[in-house]
């Protein structure tokens, strides 16, 4: 599908997102202009505080945006309010700084002449200082506007819409057309804002007061308009990452499979657990073995109609290596089926939230299983074990390493933290690593990209999926899937445990029943 086709067939949604984007930008910019100019002006009256205040505002700007959204989450939840506040905070620095320096740089003798002729302070400000500082102030506002249009894409991460929805969904799904459908309008918007502000700048000397008053009105109206529904809204809300929103095996599929309809908002995967914990949303689609399930006391809803595809991890190893050391199959079989969902959650939790070293957690667990762990890695490299870059993968890779060291004569080297599926898989195919833990679902959807008929036919059955990927990998890449570890790290619907108990919701069907009351 060409970009143009994508664009025309999604024109409605692009239009909506663009409008949301403009809304977010204009509102946060209006607030930033009002507050920023005010602060800047006040600072010129109390220059003693200027260094500290401008410094503090500057520090806000250096906070990474996802982190800032994370800070705001417990206070303001998700949606438009925190997005506007975050955008406002980012836009503040150039406006405050330029207002302050713009006024400070107005020739001292001109200010003095104004005072000396008997202008009251407010008139000195409005008739002399602000008009003369306008070019500098506007330069600040234009910088802020362009940044705001850019940063506003990030607000899609906390469910406030805008062109970021397409961009992030496009990135998650590796869909270039979708990314461009978000990115191009965003770039055009940035240029447009800059252009319009440039025009406004020429007129502003005449219309300084109306413009400031206009900004203040936009601020008040929009703040009350946005805040109102936010405060009184207490319906049941779902928060999903953009990838889940877009994938056929995500929300769209879930919706038709269970005939379930949810008020849903888009959330950053890194923030959605916190959003659930902080009661900003009521159900999320997390990963079934995430440590936060335990840390935040969440409950996973049973997928009683078997919608979510199986993602059972197993060691994926190169055929040649297995041929050379056939004993590996038996040795690694010691881990086969030994880890349940709860166990894996528990292990992730220990590393992520109790900050225990990975190796210590692994050894404790293996000891519990009655396995030997006394032999340490020495640094030889008969076998190189890889992993992707998240906790569960580190744990599994470490586990494979300890078992091989203790039950064979082979020396193991670890190459962990490979960026993602593509990188890890390529490393394996090219022989840079000899094995890494991979998930059956990922093999099916991402690596093999199995035809849709095949997917439909086997997706409900974990055994069939395993058999299919095992056969295909062998044939296409000469790679072997060994026995799976036993747990399923798939998408899972989860809620706060207290809610599930109170509402008596155990499964997704229960949730549907509850919602259709």
């Amino acid at each position: 599908m060409s970009f143009w086709e994508f664009f025309t067939s999604n024109i409605r949604e692009i239009f909506d997102q663009t409008l949301q984007h403009i809304g977010l930008t204009v509102i946060s910019l209006a607030i930033a202009v009002t507050v920023g100019v005010l602060v800047g002006v006040v600072l010129t009256r109390y220059p003693r505080f200027s260094t500290q205040v401008i410094g503090t505002v500057g520090v806000i700007q250096t906070i990474p945006s996802v982190a800032l959204l994370g800070f705001l989450l417990p206070l303001l939840g998700i949606g438009v309010t925190p997005a506007i506040i975050a955008l406002f905070l980012y836009a503040l620095l150039p406006i405050v700084r330029n207002t302050y320096t713009g006024i400070e740089e107005v020739d001292g003798s001109i200010k003095e002449a104004a005072k000396g002729m008997g202008m009251p302070d407010l008139q000195v400000l409005f008739k002399v200082e602000l008009p003369l500082a306008i070019p500098v102030i506007f330069a600040g506002i234009r910088t802020a506007a362009v940044t705001t249009v850019g940063v506003a894409t990030l607000s899609a991460l906390i469910a406030s819409g805008g062109l970021g929805e397409f961009i992030f969904r496009g990135i998650a799904l590796n869909n270039v057309n979708m990314m461009l459908a978000g990115a191009i309008p965003a770039a055009i918007l940035a240029l447009l804002f800059d252009f319009l502000l440039g025009i406004l700048q020429k007129q502003v000397q005449r219309f300084l007061k109306p413009i400031l008053i206009g900004a203040a009105i936009i601020v008040t109206v929009s703040v009350s308009w946005w805040l109102g529904p936010q405060i009184f809204n207490n319906s049941f809300i779902a928060g999903f990452p953009s990838e889940f929103m877009g994938r056929a095996d995500g929300y769209p599929g879930l919706q038709s499979h269970y005939n379930l309809s949810l008020d849903s908002v888009q959330l950053n995967p890194a923030l959605m657990y916190d959003a659930l914990k902080e009661k900003k949303v009521d159900v999320i689609s997390g990963y079934s073995t995430d440590g936060r399930i335990k840390a935040y006391d969440l409950a996973v809803l049973e997928d009683d109609l078997h919608f979510f595809p199986p993602y059972y991890p197993a060691p994926l190893i190169r055929g040649e290596v297995l041929k050379e050391y056939p004993e590996l199959e038996g040795v690694l079989g010691k881990l086969g089926g030994k880890i349940s969902d709860e166990t894996m959650t528990q292990l992730n939790y220990q590393v992520d939230y109790l900050n225990k070293p990975t190796i210590e957690v692994v050894k404790e667990f293996l000891t519990e299983l009655g396995l030997e762990t006394s032999i340490e890695r020495t640094g030889g490299s008969d076998i190189v074990i890889g992993s992707k870059g998240f906790t569960e993968q580190y744990l599994l890779a470490e586990m494979l390493g300890v078992v091989i060291e203790n039950y064979t004569n082979l020396d193991v080297d670890l190459k962990t933290g490979l960026g993602g599926t593509k990188i890890a898989f390529n490393a394996l195919v090219q022989g840079e690593i000899d094995m890494y833990p991979e998930y059956t679902g990922t093999g099916l959807f991402v690596i093999l990209r199995a035809p849709e008929e095949v997917q439909k036919a086997i997706i409900q059955d974990k055994e069939e999926v395993f058999a299919y990927v095992k056969e295909q990998f062998k044939e296409l890449y000469d790679l072997e899937w060994l026995e799976p570890f036993g747990f399923n790290n798939t998408y899972a619907m989860m809620m706060r445990r207290e809610d599930t108990e109170k509402l008596n919701i155990r499964s997704i069907s229960d949730l549907k029943a509850y919602l259709s009351q």
Partner: protein, 367 residues
């Protein structure tokens, strides 16, 4: 008690000059009251009175116990070396700066009793570096104070045009220009017009001709001196050009490191310096200055009526100063005629006689 350096040794001076008395009390000259003897401090209220003004910045005393009085219609010059506190003193008069101690009375009223804006709207202010508003046209610049005073637009535009005419900038050509489109001298004229726009009784001028070359400066000074609307104004003029002070000021206040060294008429400062600082300050141009402060009328007792060749000599007025006469292009050839106010010849003399009379006059006042 306002103690000015060295004033104690002089006590009360009573310098008698032709037809006029100057009373210097405690180093503070009151005013040259033409023909009226013994007019006391109390009977005529000063327009501006500074009492013991002191301004301290961190570590620096910029102005140190300065006192003076300025009578209505009088021009006081503040002169001194750079950094001696002239601008600081001036700015305290319209409350752009608040004194650390001391008081200022304008028409007998303490200026702190009213809002500073009100005070400033009644005091014209010509700033050291022009200070025109670059985003306003010439006309708008001049209209600032009248607008603050809520004059009718018609009255404002009428008076703006008149002021522009007065400072030699034809309104049709200049009123719609922006300050950047004017030369430095033209800007200063606009600055002056702006200060006079609301016809304030008091005008403060901080080096109004500072940025000009010698020729333009002399020219504007002459025009300035002849401006009718300035005749009745009480003015304080800051300058470090002694000739400017001597030309434009009724009295001069010479400052040094925040203190007043001497205050009096130009003639007093030049012929009767109170101390070495004052003497040194004028020493480099002393002869020219002496000629500048002496007018023909001063010399009449020592002048001989030499030539009967009437009609040929250039006629000068009694109040003309010697420097301008000696620099006059027609000087010398046919003698110097001296006329009274109505242009009637009193006597005719020549250059040599004029100079010898000058030396005799000087001797008479130094003794």
């Amino acid at each position: 008690m306002p103690i000015i350096k060295n004033s104690a040794t002089y006590g009360i001076h009573k310098v008698i000059m032709k037809n006029s008395f100057v009373i210097i009390a405690h180093g503070t000259a009151i005013k040259e009251y033409n023909g009226v003897v013994g007019n006391s401090q109390n009977s005529q209220m000063a327009m501006i009175e500074a009492i013991n003004l002191t301004k301290k910045y961190e570590g620096v005393t910029a102005v140190d116990h300065v006192s003076f009085q300025i009578a209505e219609g009088e021009t006081l010059g503040l002169i001194g070396t750079s950094g001696c506190g002239k601008t600081t003193t001036l700015k305290m008069l319209n409350r752009l700066l608040e004194p650390s101690s001391g008081r200022i009375l304008v028409q007998g009223k303490d200026i702190r009793k009213d809002k500073p804006e009100r005070l400033r709207q009644g005091i014209g202010y010509v700033i050291q570096n022009g200070g025109l508003f670059p985003h306003y046209t010439v006309a708008e610049n001049i209209a600032v104070v009248p607008r603050l005073l809520k004059w009718k637009e018609k009255r404002i535009s009428g008076s703006t045009d008149k002021l522009l005419e007065m400072v030699g900038l034809p309104p049709s050509e200049f009123s719609q220009r922006y300050p950047q489109e004017l030369s430095g001298g033209q800007q200063q004229r606009v600055g002056l017009a702006r200060a006079l726009a609301a016809d304030p009784p008091i005008v403060l001028l901080d080096e109004p001709f500072g940025a000009l070359d010698q020729i333009t400066r002399g020219q504007i000074q002459q025009e300035f001196k002849q401006l009718e609307s300035l005749l009745k104004k009480t003015m304080v003029l800051v300058t470090h050009d002694v000739f400017e002070a001597v030309t434009l000021c009724d009295r001069i206040c010479l400052m040094n490191q925040g203190r007043i060294e001497q205050i009096g008429t130009p003639k007093e400062l030049i012929f009767q310096p109170h101390n070495d600082f004052v003497r040194d300050f004028f020493s480099s141009n002393l002869f020219q200055l002496e000629l500048h402060v002496t007018c023909l009328g001063d010399l009449i007792p020592w002048l001989e009526n030499l030539s009967p060749r009437e009609g040929c000599a250039t006629l000068f007025k009694v109040k003309e100063n010697l420097l301008s006469i000696l620099q006059h292009k027609n000087m010398g050839q046919n003698g110097i005629g001296i006329g009274d106010r109505h242009g009637h010849r009193i006597l005719t003399t020549n250059c040599e006689n004029l100079l010898s009379a000058f030396y005799q006059y000087k001797k008479s006042i130094l003794n």
